[in-house]
């Protein structure tokens, strides 16, 4: 039940100049409605500045940012911000309010009736995996770091914003919790159809979450592409280095056995019996690891749901895909 | 003297200050200033002799934190007039009479809390790693207190002494109520005799003295404390 329709966010030649330096330099790109765009780049490359210009916490020096075609500079900043979800690394939960009150912040600012705020808060807490019975009445100080992040995401989602801005939201939690939060964010975002602009330092996080990745350096956009394309065709040496020397493997992580070019000419019975049976949804990266571990050249692939045999995946095919990237 | 004579009060007070009669005899300005400072200095010295060792010791060992930290609040709850009131029967029962002694006795408990709490907080605030390092280099516990903790806590210790001194100088004025000397004499007598020039002169003298003590202490602190240690943090 998608409550919100995502909005298109367009940066049009946006520049932010500080007295002694240019923080963002001629940035132009468009995030299609309902997609997740990840901003990555080294420290100081202008990611946070770009994000904050969308909800006008920072005003651009020149250029325009359009949400569904309307220039944000033409709107009242306070009203604008109430329509844009905002999550920061330190979360910024209000220490003096319970989790439920925190989540209800923007609806309250928008003047929703009390019971609607309440039911929406409860619904959202459940959505981000915080049992309302246990957590609604707690104060932020009574939550773990990961739980606070969830509450922060719930608070940002409260008024069905068409756009969410997230600045390193999972930066301060351990890898296992981050994994879960990422999975939940993806689920929620697909559910709600929100457009998300997401800043991270972590290229793996970018590849996992992003529909598009914007790589920034010194305030400029270096490359803007879907993760697969970024890994397959880094625009230059900087991007290649940034995505890492293992980008081939990373790219395999984006592809599935079911989507590979399978050899269906071989009978199921004819496949090496030591070979592991792969589900169609297995990533090629995991498939490769399993095959190398068992020391086999080929492995049967079956349908996730009914176990129907689909064909054989061979090492030769995988290495061909690795080779096709450059 | 007409209390409504607002313009005249300055003229009268100026006249009071320029009258040579006020610089001779036992009620001379310089005598009263000296009495005031003598009483205040003695009170602060006695209080420091009691409070500093306790504060330093508690700070070094970390014991009785609750008491060490809250004694300053309790101290603030004790009204100076009440302290004087309590000191009076004590001085009497010790046969010390009126004036100097009851005032001194009432000033000491006023000066103790800021000195002690600041010493405690100052010592506790010293980086534990520095102390660990000193211990590792073989310093004895008193050695650590003397060469490491006390110097590092100096800014706070001094500001505790300043708070105490300013309070004491201010409160020593009340000694005149129990027939003590000091600058309070002019105020109390001026009030009683409705001589507003004397009252005003006394008030100006006490106010100036308190501010001078504050300023002088501030200057001294700035010099005594190494620039590497200067911090804006005051416990009180």
């Amino acid at each position: 039940m998608p409550n919100a329709r995502g909005a298109t966010v367009e940066f049009r030649d946006v520049t932010k100049q500080y007295a002694d330096q240019v923080a963002v330099d001629g940035l132009s790109f468009t995030v299609p409605a309902g997609k997740i765009c990840i901003l990555v780049g080294p420290s100081g490359s202008g990611k946070t500045t770009s994000l904050k210009m969308v909800n006008r916490l920072i005003e651009p020096t020149s250029g325009a940012i359009l949400i569904d075609g309307t220039d944000v500079l033409q709107e009242d900043p306070v009203q604008l911000r109430r329509r844009i979800g905002y999550v920061i690394q330190q979360v910024g939960l209000f220490p003096h309010q319970t989790i439920e009150e925190n989540v209800g912040t923007v609806p309250r600012l928008l003047g929703w009736p009390k019971d609607r705020i309440r039911s929406r808060s409860i619904e959202l807490l459940a959505l981000v995996g915080l049992d309302p019975k246990r957590y609604a009445a707690r104060y932020p100080a009574q939550l773990s770091g990961g739980e606070r992040q969830r509450a922060g995401v719930a608070r940002a989602l409260a008024a069905d914003p068409p756009v969410m801005l997230m600045d390193e939201p999972f930066g301060a939690v351990d890898p296992i919790v981050r994994d879960r939060l990422q999975a939940e964010l993806l689920r929620i975002q697909r559910d709600q159809g929100t457009t998300v602009l997401f800043v991270t330092h972590d290229i793996d996080e970018a590849i996992r979450l992003g529909d598009r990745i914007a790589i920034m350096k010194d305030g400029k956009l270096v490359q803007y592409a879907p993760p697969g394309e970024l890994l397959a065709h880094p625009a230059n040496e900087f991007v290649a280095q940034f995505v890492g020397s293992d980008r081939g493997l990373k790219r395999l992580g984006l592809l599935t056995a079911g989507g590979a070019d399978l050899d269906s000419g071989i009978e199921r019975a004819g496949v090496d019996p030591r070979a592991p049976e792969l589900k169609a949804s297995t990533t090629l990266r995991d498939a490769l690891a399993l095959m190398l571990e068992r020391g086999v050249q080929q492995a049967p692939v079956v349908d996730d749901n009914d176990g129907r045999y689909l064909g054989v995946l061979t090492l030769a095919k995988i290495s061909k895909m690795l080779g096709s990237q450059a | 003297m007409d209390p409504g004579g607002r313009v005249n009060i300055f003229v009268d007070t100026f006249a009071w200050f320029t009258d040579p009669a006020h610089y001779t005899g036992s009620n001379a300005v310089q005598v009263r200033v000296f009495e005031h400072l003598e009483l205040s200095a003695l009170a602060v010295l006695i209080a420091a002799a009691i409070a500093l060792p306790i504060g330093l010791y508690l700070g070094h060992t970390g014991r009785l934190a609750f008491i060490a930290l809250n004694v300053a609040n309790v101290g603030r709850a004790l009204p100076s007039l009440a302290l004087l009131a309590f000191a009076l029967p004590i001085a009497f029962s010790l046969g010390l009479g009126l004036g100097f002694w009851p005032t001194l006795i009432s000033l000491i408990p006023l000066a103790l809390p800021p000195i002690m709490t600041n010493a405690y907080v100052g010592i506790r605030g010293v980086d534990r790693d520095v102390i660990e390092a000193a211990r590792g280099m073989g310093l004895s516990e008193p050695g650590i207190l003397r060469t490491v903790e006390a110097p590092l806590a100096l800014p706070l210790i001094l500001s505790g002494l300043r708070t105490a001194s300013v309070n004491v100088v201010a409160t020593a004025t009340l000694g005149a109520l129990v027939a003590g000397g000091g600058l309070g004499r002019y105020i109390v007598d001026g009030l009683a005799l409705q001589e507003y020039d004397r009252l005003f002169a006394g008030a100006l003298l006490v106010a100036t003295l308190a501010i001078l003590v504050e300023v002088a202490f501030g200057r001294f602190e700035a010099r005594a404390v190494s620039p590497g240690l200067r911090s804006p943090a005051d416990a009180l």
Partner: protein, 218 residues
């Protein structure tokens, strides 16, 4: 204190309950007016300081100097102008509250974590909403800490106003000193200290009431 006179004459207390009650009321009134007026002035000055940081130095200097001037001297300086009145007492008492109150109000507001401010702004609080609904509530604990110190000091200082004809329990102390009557003196002192402790306890309760989030386990 004449020989043979007990330190406390309980019968005097019994026969002077009306007097003690009257002094209590007077003491509370003098304190309440001073702290309330002081708080209002301090709050306005704090708002100015937060908006125009340049004036923080001068304001601190003036209130600090006022704070340093001995109470008896300050009251004495006022007498030629406002006489032996409630007004003289209150001008002095209010002056002494300002330094502490302003320091705590300004510090309380400035100590509100930057991420909380950013989150509030980012979600669409306007400046005045953010100030009253986020910054002031979060500064409450520090502000009340200042009010506690100001209240305790004021209760002590009220006793000194006995010298200008006010004084609450201070009046009993002063008369006790003048008449060498220890009962009256001790009653005045004990009641004054008790009032300070009671007021402090009330303010602690108020602070707990107003800031329940500070008491949850971290």
């Amino acid at each position: 204190m004449t020989e043979g006179e007990p330190l406390i004459r309980w019968d005097w207390i019994g026969s002077h309950l009306d007097e003690i009650g009257f002094r209590l009321l007077q003491h509370v009134e003098l304190t309440a007016i001073a702290v309330t007026v002081g708080f209002i002035i301090a709050f306005v000055l704090s708002l100015l300081i937060l908006r125009i940081p340049r004036i923080e130095g001068p304001v601190t200097w003036v209130t600090g100097t006022l704070y340093t001037i001995p109470s008896l001297a300050l009251f004495a300086l006022l007498i030629p102008y406002t006489g032996l009145t409630l007004l003289s007492a209150e001008i002095g008492l209010v002056s002494y509250t300002l330094l502490i109150l302003i320091r705590n109000i300004v510090r309380g507001i400035r100590d509100v974590p930057a991420d909380v401010i950013e989150a509030a702004t980012g979600m669409g609080y306007d400046n005045s909403d953010r100030f009253w609904r986020v910054e002031v509530p979060l500064a409450t604990a520090v502000i009340i800490a200042g009010v506690r110190v100001a209240t305790i000091s004021t209760i002590g200082l009220v006793t000194v106003t006995a010298l200008i004809g006010q004084g609450g329990f201070g009046f009993l102390i002063l008369i006790g000193i003048q008449r060498f009557f220890s009962t009256e003196l001790i009653v005045g002192a004990v009641c004054s200290v008790s009032l300070a402790i009671f007021a402090d306890a009330m303010l602690v309760l108020l602070q707990r009431r107003l800031t329940p989030w500070t008491r949850v386990a971290g």
